[in-house]
């Protein structure tokens, strides 16, 4: 029975043809559905991009821009901010006033035409026509009054809305407001012009591109000057690797996707201005702005040790162990000595093996450990790969955390 699996040549040919036709049908069916699948993928990918952006935002940005994007502690502007997304609080009224003004112009022209006809001495209208003109003039008069009432209402509404934004304006929502506009006396056209060039963040800074470009550019290059605007700010860092920061371009895009996801589109209201911290509202719970977080330890070994001595920072081995095991996951690699030196016996090995090496003669054990954590690339123990240990622990740990971990490692004889 050990023969061609299907014995009859006809059956083989039929089977083969069926299979090839089957493949064509299947691939064709996939092809028909590709458009929908690709669109679904884009939606899904955008969603996940926003998720990653949220993660980056929570860990990198929320300290200054606020967990909810309203800004925090006078350190940075709110981003969950109608102004940023181009919401004009009085846009509706401005449109109403403009439309009514155009109608008024037309009505006035009509009135003038009728009056001219009525008073034409060379070619005076007949008695019937005179009655007709008078009736029309009455009608136009009513319409003009109607439009003027509309404008009045809209202007009143605009004044009311702007009054509710007083605090925001006082806090710099429209920096040029006082020099340009007096809401009582300034003409409607001028107010309209003012909002055209100040109503949104992009207009204020004269940004010709779109919001996405504005956000991405700001993320890439930072905003060093913001220290002059926000008293507790040290200036926004340049976040992109292209500008010397830590983030890759895809991470910048994720962050931008998250920030732009705050846009409510047509659903912004002028109340939303008042939720933004910088526009003068105290924080939601009435509390004072929180202290900025302690700075990271960095990778200047001598500097770190000097700071510890000066600020009397003492590590706790128990806390250090928690940080070592869980928070920073050191034991994931530093166990058994398979991929990195074992945690157990650290001190003994440093004392007997490392510090006897010529380059470490002047080192203390503590100094050696601090250097190993903050500058793992400087020296790699024989037999282990370089580059496996992340080089950014100095940037992720505070002095206290680093001291805790060092004190824990000092217990590992």
């Amino acid at each position: 029975m050990n023969l061609l699996v299907i014995r009859s040549i006809d059956a083989r040919i039929l089977m083969g043809i069926t299979m090839f036709v089957g493949i064509m049908i299947l691939v064709g069916w996939v092809a028909i559905n590709e458009e929908a699948r690709m669109q679904a993928f884009v939606r899904q990918h955008t969603g996940r991009s926003i998720e990653r952006g949220a993660e980056l935002y929570a860990s990198l940005c929320s300290e200054c821009h606020g967990e909810d994007g309203y800004g925090a502690g006078d350190r940075a502007p709110g981003l969950n901010n109608p102004h940023l997304f181009g919401f004009d609080p009085v846009g509706e009224q401005t449109v109403a006033i403009t439309t009514a003004n155009r109608t008024l112009v037309r009505l006035t022209e009509d009135t003038e035409k009728l009056l001219a006809e009525f008073t034409d001495t060379e070619n005076p209208p007949g008695a019937d026509r005179q009655d007709e003109i008078l009736a029309q003039l009455d009608k136009l008069e009513a319409q003009i009054a109607e439009q003027q009432a509309l404008i009045e209402t809209a202007v009143a509404e605009r004044v009311a809305t702007l009054e509710t934004l007083d605090t925001a304006v006082d806090n710099g929502l429209f920096p040029l407001w006082d020099s340009v506009v007096d809401i009582e006396t300034t003409g409607d056209d001028e107010v309209e012009i003012f909002f055209n060039s100040n109503g949104t963040r992009l207009a204020q800074v004269g940004w010709a591109g779109d919001l996405h470009g504005y956000v991405v550019t700001t993320l890439i290059h930072g905003r060093p000057g913001s220290a002059r605007v926000y008293p507790n700010s040290t200036g926004m860092a340049a976040w992109s690797q292209t500008a010397g920061g830590p983030l890759r371009q895809d991470q910048i895009e994720d962050l931008a996707a998250y920030i732009i996801n705050w846009d409510k589109g047509a659903n912004w209201t002028s109340e939303d201005f008042l939720a933004v911290a910088q526009y003068g509202k105290p924080l939601a719970d009435g509390s004072l702005p929180s202290e900025p977080p302690p700075p990271p330890a960095g990778d200047n070994v001598a500097g770190i040790l000097a700071r510890w001595a000066e600020m009397e920072i003492v590590g706790s081995p128990a806390t250090g162990e928690l940080l070592y095991d869980a928070e920073f996951g050191c034991t994931d690699c530093h166990r058994n000595g398979a991929s990195a030196p074992d945690t157990v016996g650290t001190v003994a090995r440093i004392r007997t093996e490392r510090l006897t090496m010529p380059q470490f003669t002047s080192y203390t054990i503590e100094e050696y450990i601090v250097e190993s954590i903050t500058r793992p690339g400087d020296f790699v123990v024989d037999g282990y790969s370089s580059g496996l240990m992340p080089a950014n622990f100095g940037a992720r740990m505070t002095d206290q955390q680093l001291a805790d971990i060092v004190s824990y490692l000092l217990t590992q004889e």
Partner: protein
């Protein structure tokens, strides 16, 4: 005289008439294209009739044509079915071509640069019609190819086909196995996602353990001390140029050797010590044209059909987040076919187990035909070699199991449990916490303590009690502190636990039950534990899920929980700094006049020490379009 100034088809028409001239012209062209078969020959062949011409025209394409010059014109019918080859050699060749075709299509859309590669993957998935299908097929084909080639080797071992005169065939096949492994491995890096970067980092770090030249080998491979732009380019060139070129050449060599010696027969079909593969009696001959040819075309269709079906409904090539050298994912492993080396590495020294052991193992395999020189291929006579084959399979399986992340790599229980709930999609799996439908993520704080099982109380009463308890002993406040540290907005913090809304959110309930189940598995490392899930709104269409574990701290040394004499875990008790008192009850002062402090255990009202409470948390953001739950 010719009509045109040179002899032409028109002369034929004039001479024979149009119809005859056309038919003869077609016949002639077909015979040239097939290198020997005219229309009538083909018709007979595919009808299963005997050839009407002599000599047999079905042999000429093998003798005169290029495409079939290496294919034998007939086979022994004993080797044309499933047994003894299981068609594994044919399948391996199939995948060589399958991978080449799908690979070339993918190359059209790919740039080997760390800045662009991942974006290209997204483009293939989002903007290239059939792009996803091509990628799935290429990836699945690669996994199959490794498996098929390895199985092909085991089959050769089991049927004893490596024996004289096929020693070199075996050796060339072994080279092909290694090439296949490297081809698959080098392709792993190209998507430049987390899965690629870390699997390849682990794999490439083995090269570093090579004595003397380890660093140089590593540098050559990666192009820099760390995998980056150069490393990616090198892996790409290996993947699309160097390795395929070698693979094609070696495939030719291997097949040439197979044909020179003939396909080995099933062991029981020939006399011991005799190699009769080349002498095929007339009555056992199955001719390539038409039988084997139709058979292979049928298989070609069938296998491609199966792969198409698998890639449409059952398999999608993984694509994780963008590669990030700063973030090591928990549970990183090498690709499955290198897991055995990773498992061996856990046995001890990196050089011995990571370099020497695989090299010796491969060397021993290469030498196999020269070491086992017994003439008989019968199963009954080869008990030792068959046992060895089974041992090899068992050892590889066990080592591969040991290579899994869960084996002998200890991560603390709370990290492991939360990871199970939160991990990003990888290897067609996803953390169960991500599978809760968006509309079932109802804002609030929920605790697994509710599920501890108190039948005498309703869920609402139970939650009220838990709230009272955790507020009183400070555990709830500790959780809030942890959430604040993790940047949950102050006005988002929960005030108390809510009952899990089982009716509106059955999946949420299910995940909480799973959370509880995992926590209950760790009574030693996590005594008196409860878990919590805090769901908060973050943006429109975006929720944040914080997973919290709270437990009594136990003494852990070297990754092991320390036990007391009674076999109970040793609890760590909370302590505080209190002033030292002298006999008179006055605070003692040190030389500087500061009160002297000492660490004392904290006691509760009954005078019992209070265990130190530990807390761990991790969080996810879930967007409603992310569709983890599909």
């Amino acid at each position: 005289m010719s009509i045109l100034p040179f002899p032409s088809f028109l002369d034929d028409v004039k001479e024979k008439g149009f119809k005859k001239a056309v038919f003869e012209g077609i016949d002639d062209s077909v015979e040239r294209l097939t290198a020997g078969l005219n229309v009538q020959d083909l018709r007979e062949a595919f009808r299963g009739e005997n050839p009407s011409r002599r000599p047999n025209p079905r042999l000429t394409p093998h003798a005169d044509g290029f495409w079939l010059h290496m294919r034998p014109s007939y086979f022994n019918r004993d080797v044309t079915g499933m047994y003894p080859s299981f068609r594994l050699g044919w399948l391996s060749t199939y995948f060589v071509f399958f991978e080449t075709i799908t690979g070339i299509l993918l190359m059209l859309w790919y740039t080997p640069s760390p800045e662009i590669a991942y974006g290209d993957m997204l483009t293939i998935l989002s903007n290239v019609p059939l792009g996803q299908l091509m990628r799935d097929m290429h990836r699945l084909g690669a996994e199959f190819m490794v498996a098929v080639v390895a199985l092909h080797m085991m089959r050769t071992w089991i049927t004893g086909s490596y024996k004289k005169p096929r020693q070199f065939t075996w050796f060339s096949g072994l080279l092909l196995l290694v090439l296949t492994g490297f081809l698959s491995f080098s392709g792993y890096l190209l998507p430049w996602d987390q899965l690629s970067l870390w699997a390849v980092t682990i794999g490439a770090s083995m090269a570093e353990a090579t004595p003397v030249v380890g660093d140089q080998v590593n540098l050559l491979l990666r192009g820099a001390p760390e995998l980056g732009a150069n490393g990616l380019l090198r892996f790409y060139l290996l993947h699309v140029l160097a390795l395929p070129a070698l693979l094609f050449v070696m495939t030719g060599v291997h097949y040439y050797k197979v044909i020179i010696h003939g396909h080995s027969l099933p062991p029981q079909r020939e006399n011991i010590g005799e190699d009769s593969a080349k002498r095929v009696p007339l009555d056992r001959r199955v001719y390539f044209i038409p039988d084997v040819l139709t058979n292979e075309m049928m298989w070609l269709g069938a296998v491609t059909f199966i792969i198409t079906v698998l890639c449409i409904w059952f398999y999608h090539a993984p694509l994780e987040n963008h590669a990030d050298p700063q973030v090591t994912p928990l549970g990183t492993t090498a690709p499955w076919y290198f897991l055995w080396i990773q498992g061996a590495l856990k046995l001890g020294d990196k050089f011995v187990w990571g370099v020497a052991f695989p090299s010796i193992a491969l060397g021993a395999l290469a030498l196999l035909p020269y070491l086992d020189v017994t003439p008989s291929r019968r199963y009954a006579h080869r008990r030792f070699m068959l046992t060895l084959a089974m041992l090899l399979v068992s050892a590889t399986t066990i080592l591969s199991y040991m290579g899994l992340a869960k084996f002998a790599v200890q991560t603390s229980a709370e990290t492991e449990i939360v990871h199970e709930l939160t991990f990003e999609p990888a290897h067609s799996k996803v953390g169960t916490g991500r599978t809760i439908p968006f509309d079932q993520m109802i804002v609030g704080a929920y605790t697994t303590a509710q599920l501890h099982g108190r039948d005498d109380m309703s869920a609402a009463e139970l939650i009220a009690e838990i709230n009272a308890e955790t507020q009183a002993n400070g555990q709830f406040a500790q959780m809030l502190d942890e959430l604040k540290n993790q940047h949950v907005g102050a006005n988002q913090l929960p005030l108390r636990f809510r009952t899990i809304p089982e009716d509106e959110a059955p999946k949420l309930m299910q995940v909480m039950e799973e959370f509880e189940h995992h926590l209950a598995q760790e009574p030693i490392e996590l005594p008196d534990v409860w878990g919590a899930l805090v769901i908060t709104d973050n943006q429109a269409g975006l929720k944040r899920l914080d997973w919290v574990v709270s437990w009594d701290s136990v003494l852990i040394e070297g990754g092991e929980v320390m036990m007391d004499d009674a076999g109970e875990p040793i609890i760590v008790f909370a302590s505080e700094q209190v002033p030292m008192l002298d006999d008179a009850g006055e605070p003692m002062m040190d030389d500087a006049g500061e009160p002297m402090m000492q660490e004392m255990p904290m006691l509760d009202e009954a005078g019992n020490p209070i265990p130190e409470r530990r807390i761990f948390s991790d969080h996810l953001f879930i967007h409603q379009e992310s569709a983890y739950f599909d």
